[in-house]
């Protein structure tokens, strides 16, 4: 609504879950803990809703800004604010957070208090990362998320939980500490040029760093973000973490934490390092394509239901990254929308696995079969989310995929071909999964009397189904909110910079670089939401 907030709405959104965690410290009755945790998670979602309505979709400025001194000695500030892109991710985080808490009601029976405290702290960390406009503050929240997630996997996870938890922790940590060095390099460069010590990313967005420094910093950022996305070949922690995490952990991990990586690329890598980004396109695209195809093929070979969904994440996030690195407005818009879609669909799929796991305590696909007869409602929800995941028209996945494909197609038809192959493969493994678990006869006697979805489980799925259909039929409100965010990124990665060979004295470099410039500037003329309407 206004540029500088009169009311610290973002802080309120961020601290609501933390307050909940604080209150839980003093509660000991199991049901009281559950009610309070659910209350605060729900409240956290409700207080974030005004963002959707009050966001000025036409303003290119940062909104709901709060700015206070933090460490003046080094110029770090408590500087938070949002644009349309972060608003969508915050809403996704608060919604999925509330759903994750609700889904744990009966699934978690041990050490309840600690469990909900970790979930709520994780929630606060995620929101903090999405609202930070100070790079150091962002990094603090970014790392804060590791600890609760480590515990969620390590304490409440399944068989191999300790291994998976430490793997998750170390992979992400290695990536992010290298990223920290990149952040510091930008910080000191900024001081060299402007004479000001600051971590203010809006200032970093205006920097024109020399290409060599950009390349190094890009590599550093890339390690941090690519591990989180996760991109091939940094994805190996993901299947383990997902498989062993408790349901709520998987849901949060898939729906929100993975978006941290893509968020980082869009918010930091692209606008701060536009030149290096453009140079990196062929390499990143190659990794994306490998990830898309490889993730899909490996998903097809899985016998573990949850692992299959985890590998599908690798494939889908590869597509999201590919759309992003097409560096076209349509591609980036599609990429962002697909992040939301992936959160809804994959988050929902993990919830679904959780539902049957809670009843049967196995995730082996071969243990199931014919569930549609026993649990018709469950099968229906599963069908909708499967379709959403593979991009059936009228559901959300379709819109995202079309935009991404359109964005890629104008840049390079071969890439688009690979992306389309990935989509086809995803239909194959998802439908095959559906066929093996839902259809056929109930040949396992243990499955004969499984209860169908109860009211609480319905409540966890209902918002996801509504969103899937809403975005599928009428994505305009979502796309409207992304317009200025995408413009901001495009303004940096497209035309501000002189042609890159001007920066090089020797002609050799210019010859080696990919001939992408011309294509990108052609594409810019295409209206942002051309494909969606």
């Amino acid at each position: 609504m206004s540029n500088t907030a009169n009311f610290p709405l973002l802080s309120l959104i961020m601290f609501t879950p933390l307050v909940g965690a604080g209150v839980l410290l003093f509660v000991s009755k199991p049901n009281a803990i559950r009610w309070i945790a659910n209350g605060f998670a729900m409240l956290g979602f409700l207080v974030s809703l005004p963002l959707w309505f009050w966001l000025d979709t036409t303003s290119p400025d940062w909104q709901f800004v709060e700015r206070h001194e933090w460490i003046p000695s080094i110029g770090a500030e408590y500087f938070i604010g949002v644009d349309g892109f972060s608003v969508l991710l915050i809403l996704l985080a608060t919604l999925m957070g509330a759903i994750a808490v609700l889904s744990s009601w009966t699934a978690i029976t041990e050490r309840l208090k600690e469990y909900y405290i970790f979930l709520l702290v994780l929630q606060a960390g995620m929101i903090g990362a999405f609202v930070s406009l100070d790079f150091l503050l962002f990094f603090v929240f970014w790392e804060v998320m590791l600890v609760p997630m480590y515990f969620l996997i390590g304490i409440w996870g399944s068989a191999n939980r300790l291994y998976s938890a430490i793997k998750f922790f170390l992979f992400t940590l290695v990536g992010s500490v290298i990223m920290l060095l990149g952040i510091l390099a930008v910080y000191f460069y900024n001081h060299e040029v402007t004479g000001v010590y600051t971590f203010d990313i809006t200032r970093f967005h205006e920097l024109n760093m020399p290409i060599e420094l950009q390349t190094w910093v890009f590599l550093a950022f890339f390690l941090g973000f690519a591990v989180k996305v996760p991109m091939f070949p940094f994805h190996t922690w993901l299947p383990d973490a997902h498989t062993d995490a408790p349901t709520a952990g998987s849901v949060i991990l898939a729906a929100v934490l993975l978006k941290m990586g893509t968020y980082g690329f869009i918010r930091f890598s692209l606008p701060i390092l536009p030149e290096a980004t453009r140079n990196a396109v062929p390499w990143v695209v190659a990794l994306c394509i490998i990830g898309i195809i490889y993730g899909a093929l490996v998903a097809m070979a899985q016998t573990d239901w949850k692992r299959l969904v985890a590998y599908s994440s690798v494939s889908h996030m590869g597509l999201v990254m590919l759309g992003l690195f097409a560096l076209t407005p349509v591609g980036i818009t599609g990429s962002i929308l697909q992040q939301i879609n992936h959160g809804i669909a994959t988050g929902g799929l993990f919830l679904l696995v959780g539902v049957v796991y809670e009843r049967r305590h196995t995730r082996e696909i071969s243990e199931y079969g014919g569930l549609a007869k026993v649990m018709p409602a469950y099968a229906a929800v599963f069908l909708v989310l499967t379709m959403s995941s593979i991009g059936l028209p009228t559901l959300n996945g379709f819109i995202g995929e079309v935009l991404i494909l359109q964005g890629i197609f104008v840049v390079n038809k071969v890439w688009a071909g690979f992306a389309a192959t990935g989509i086809v493969l995803s239909a194959a493994y998802m439908l095959w999964l559906y066929q093996r678990t839902m259809w056929g006869t109930v040949d396992n006697p243990k499955n004969e009397h499984l209860p169908d979805l109860n009211l609480r489980e319905w409540a966890t799925f209902a918002p996801l189904l509504i969103l899937a259909v809403w975005i599928g039929l009428y994505p305009k409100p979502f796309l409207d909110r992304l317009e200025t965010s995408v413009d901001r990124v495009m303004a940096r990665v497209s035309s501000v910079y002189p042609p890159r060979n001007v920066l090089h004295d020797d002609g050799q470099d210019a010859a080696e670089l990919p001939a992408l410039d011309g294509d990108v500037s052609d594409v810019i003329e295409i209206p942002v939401r051309g494909g969606a309407r």
């Binding site: 460490i71 790392e143 922790f169 920290l180």
Partner: protein, 492 residues
């Protein structure tokens, strides 16, 4: 009154005099009223507290006292505060431990204060002999303290080892100092710097740098001079280990900075390279060795070796920011390291030594607050935000990046990530392994509560709002650099 000592000089060393007076009083009291443990503790604490108040008043001063032997400046004050705080926390955590071990407290407190006096002279000294005497005072006190568990062979072994290796290293250090004196004809650091200005680097001086570097390397336990550390850390009484790993290390770093930054700027290239190598191998060897330890004290010993590696970054880059970052890191290290050792100390009960990693099993069930604190200290040592350790590491790595030591920074962050593996293992034992706790319940007495509370508060507050420490570290670092500049004018 010796010639040249003015009344003002006595004012400047008043904190040290108070400390010595308190130590003497303690020694007398322990003879006169030997059974009054509480009284002795209060006397020791009161002495440290008064000294702390006096030292804080010296912040912002920048004078040379006692005929050029001592610098009374913010740099010295910063280190003195660290040393005094670590002495105070050590005293607080010692009481119940001493009771369980059956140690006579009078001499123990006396020696802690003596060591502290030595450390304070190490922080203030700007002359080789003064620095050396400070170091000796500290070292001799520690030789006795390490062997304080008389019936325990591990403690005796540690004392002998520390004494022999310590004596050897002091010899090397002294030899290096004598070479410097031979070349320059003065023991004053400012004089040395002045004498060496514009001179070509001679082989003798390089040898002196190596010898002094090796001698100091022993004291800070940098690889390859670290062999004594794990055994001594494990064998010594736990609070002594804590004091050794924080107070002694901080004071040695102060002395190291003075000697090299103030006294030998002419050889900066050489010693920067020397410490580059020491930093890299210290953090790498320390972290890799820590991975496999099953004894908590040994693990913390190796971890502290790794931390020496991080701290040396500040010496290597030798910029004002580097030194400031180092001071900042020592400031946060004080709280997190002492906090971790406070928990290990509390683990000692009448029926169990409690310093094995597995002895921590089930701590979260039995004493959630202690387990939380320990977890927080571990994360802080590992450098995970929002703990103080993160702020310290971030700024050290920043100083390296700023000065262009990119690879040093990369090696450091890789090490820092690796270290999480063994820090998190502690957390796993406390929180995740649901084995039955061993030994009798942990009793955390009031003094220990204060020590733990201060350490935890420091680690939390400096992680979330570290501005105060940043400011002080910057001021202190500036005075050290200022001395370097001042030598041009004031050299003898």
């Amino acid at each position: 009154m010796p010639a040249g000592f003015s009344a003002a000089d006595f004012l400047y060393i008043l904190p040290e005099l108070v400390l010595i007076g308190g130590a003497m009083l303690l020694l007398s009291l322990s003879v006169l009223v030997p059974r009054r443990d509480g009284l002795l503790l209060w006397t020791a604490l009161a002495t440290v507290a008064v000294t702390l108040v006096l030292v804080v008043r010296f912040f912002g001063l920048d004078v040379t006292a006692a005929r050029g032997l001592l610098a009374i400046d913010s740099f010295a004050a910063f280190f003195k505060v660290i040393v005094l705080l670590s002495a105070a926390l050590t005293l607080l955590m010692s009481a119940p431990y001493l009771r369980v071990e059956g140690i006579r407290v009078g001499e123990y407190y006396f020696l802690i204060l003596c060591a502290t006096v030595g450390m304070m002279f190490m922080a203030s000294g700007v002359e080789l002999i003064t620095l050396f005497i400070g170091l000796e005072t500290m070292a001799v006190s520690f030789y006795v303290l390490v062997g304080f568990l008389k019936p325990n062979p591990r403690s005796n072994e540690a004392a002998v080892k520390y004494f022999l290796l310590g004596g050897f290293s002091l010899g090397i250090l002294l030899y290096g100092m004598s070479l410097i004196y031979g070349v320059t004809g003065t023991t004053s650091l400012a004089g040395i710097a002045a004498a060496l200005r514009g001179q070509d680097t001679s082989l003798v001086l390089v040898l002196a740098v190596i010898l002094v570097g090796a001698g100091m390397g022993f004291k800070i336990a940098a690889v390859p001079f670290h062999m004594w550390a794990p055994d001594v850390y494990e064998g010594a009484p736990t609070p002594v280990t804590a004091f050794l790993s924080v107070g002694s290390k901080a004071a040695s770093f102060a002395m190291l900075l003075r000697i090299f930054v103030v006294g030998l700027p002419a050889l900066a290239q050489e010693w920067s390279l020397l410490f580059y190598v020491l930093a890299v191998i210290s953090m790498t060897v320390g972290n890799i060795a820590a991975l496999t330890q099953s004894n908590l004290k040994r693990m913390l010993a190796y971890s502290s070796i790794a931390h020496v590696g991080y701290l040396l970054i500040g010496v290597v880059v030798r910029t004002e920011r580097g030194v400031a970052a180092m001071l900042l890191y020592l400031g946060v290290y004080l709280f997190m390291q002492l906090g971790a050792f406070a928990i290990v100390t509390a683990q000692r009960r009448s029926d169990i030594i409690g310093d094995e990693l597995k002895d921590l099993s089930g701590l979260s069930k039995r004493n959630p607050l202690a387990a939380f604190a320990m977890g927080f200290f571990m994360l802080s040592l590992g450098g995970i935000p929002p703990t103080a350790g993160f702020m310290g590491k971030m700024w050290l790595f920043g100083a390296a990046i700023d000065a262009g030591f990119i690879w040093l920074a990369v090696i450091a962050v890789a090490n820092s990530a690796l270290s999480i593996y063994y820090y998190i293992r502690v957390v796993v034992f406390m929180w995740i392994n649901q084995e039955e706790p061993v030994g009798s319940p942990i009793v955390i007495g009031p003094a220990m509560k204060v020590a733990l509370g201060v350490a935890l508060l420091g680690t939390v507050v400096l992680g979330i709002y570290p501005q105060f420490l940043f400011e002080q570290a910057e001021v202190a670092a500036r005075t050290l650099q200022g001395i370097t500049a001042a030598t041009v004018v004031g050299g003898q």
